[in-house]
Symmetry: C2
Subunit: 167 residues, 2 copies
Amino acid sequence: MNLSTQSQACLPKELADSEVFLLGRLGYGLKRHAAEEVDAAGFSLYDYSVMALLADGKCQAQASIADVLQLDRSQLVGMLDGLEERGLIERRRDPIDRRRHRVTLTTAGEGELAKLRELMQRIEEEFLAPLDTESRDTLYGLLSKLATYHDKRFPAPAEADVVAVAS
Amino acid sequence: MNLSTQSQACLPKELADSEVFLLGRLGYGLKRHAAEEVDAAGFSLYDYSVMALLADGKCQAQASIADVLQLDRSQLVGMLDGLEERGLIERRRDPIDRRRHRVTLTTAGEGELAKLRELMQRIEEEFLAPLDTESRDTLYGLLSKLATYHDKRFPAPAEADVVAVAS
């Protein structure tokens, strides 16, 4: 970023001191940066989330995938069409309930997911660069606690994380 | 949020464990929530930022305001027009350089800003509810360190914050 000295001095203390402003800026900036990097690799952040979800193996029904990623059903269908055309996922009728589709990752899909994981790890590493391992663990514990409280999709932090935050 | 038990169990560990995903979700969700609340009060988050900036008194030139808030100049002009029509700000020609405008907050603007500050404090309080005072200080210290590293508009954290993080 190229900012003049004047604008550096300009950010009011009221905003710099606000955790809402800080977290909003950091989260939004990080998400936008990650979206650009993933886009350059030929994917969207949602493609990555869907593939990570499918690799996990616990969620294969289209309706559940849309729910957990908070995606519009028709938006998800379009995305799955794209991944299927590229041979990265497969959709089959559920043998138990034929109105449903079960979605699975192909071997080619697993290969692309492995590349995206490396990319996400690099982005995370770059982002967390100014923090040492202990500070990263502390930050993760605090963010997990907030995420669990505000968003029921996140599991409660493990005991070890809670202890790390409290210490 | 109303999520089924199935979708709760569905979020893959890979995403729940990722600080990029966590921070992206929290920051984006918080920003959207704050935007909705501020919108219901008749303002945008940028209106609040501009008024906070003007109250600070260090930044009155339109060009500097746009720079520090990373706003498009024409976008800022539209916003300032709206605030001026409502009698919340004043624009005057700079007596030293008449090509420039100096923007200041009116008494009515100060009153509206005070209400928005209360609103932002309530949002922050609700968001940070699961964390005690010590954890909030630790989180603030860590986020400040990241913000200072990635965004030159943020001032370096005060010595006291750094110590709090290290302890």
